[in-house]
Homo-oligomer: 129 residues x 2
DNA sequence: GTAACTGCAAATCCTTTGCTATGGA
DNA sequence: TCCATAGCAAAGGATTTGCAGTTAC
């Protein structure tokens, strides 16, 4: 695992991720950080997001089109809207029972798990009218 | 939703998906179908996989690098190896409790959900020695 | 006959990588 | 000084799309 030196850019990215619950994409992080460091490049954003995920300081959430990132590294579940692709946090306790019962039925050693609910969010449901 | 006419190519793809538990990628489906229809194109495979997923006859599993497909459309969970990226079925009952308890905490209407366990499979664990 | 489907090739788009210069310890 | 990091631009790779000919119904 690569050693991390300090960098202003990475600090700003992590700060942004930790102060939003919007689960931004790399592109969205890029646009936000540009307000602070107008010369930052998209490649730098991608590199730092990877490093943060690798070092356990952020989570990557695989979306339909592209990945989303989350500064909340506590185990928690997500809800993704089929229509607008927005990612919502689900306010519930991760299920210990789920992991335990899976542990006996998995051909290997579990490191973590991901639970994603798919459906239509309230905003898109009301837009249908 | 698009109307489906019969096509030999799509039939072969679905048949393959229903008779394997290997969760093939589009590329792997392509290589397999080529044995039967040597002229099939990768684009046709992608188009048909999308149609099958759209019509509920197959599931798409988002992998780290690319998508995998599953002809088993019954709700079930998966285990993905961090090392070899192989996708395994997890032999356990989907948790009704999970969906119910999520239902109360989600800002929308749940259509389905996905549970993926990540870790290292037994094969890769023994390869480490 | 009309609409769906195919094969082919080009295009798209997210993400990664090579390179050179700069910055942190 | 030494190695990580930045910015830029080009490359990579999975997936989609446009088109002209074919097939299903």
């Amino acid at each position: 695992m690569a050693k991390l030196n300090y960098s202003r850019q990475r600090e700003a990215i992590l700060d942004f991720l930790c102060h939003t619950t919007s689960h931004p994409t790399a592109e969205e992080v890029y646009r936000h950080i540009q307000d602070i460091y107008p010369n930052i490049s998209l490649g730098t954003v991608y590199r730092n997001l990877s490093l943060l995920v690798e070092h356990g300081q952020a989570l990557k959430i695989q979306g339909e089109d592209c990945d989303h990132f989350d500064g909340n590294t506590e185990p928690h579940y997500h809800f993704v809207c089929d229509a607008c692709h927005h990612v919502y946090d689900v306010d519930m306790e991760p299920s210990d029972q789920l992991i335990q019962s899976a542990g006996h039925n998995v051909p290997g050693k579990i490191r973590t798990h991901s639970v994603i609910f798919y459906g239509t969010c309230d905003t898109c449901l009301s837009d249908k009218n």
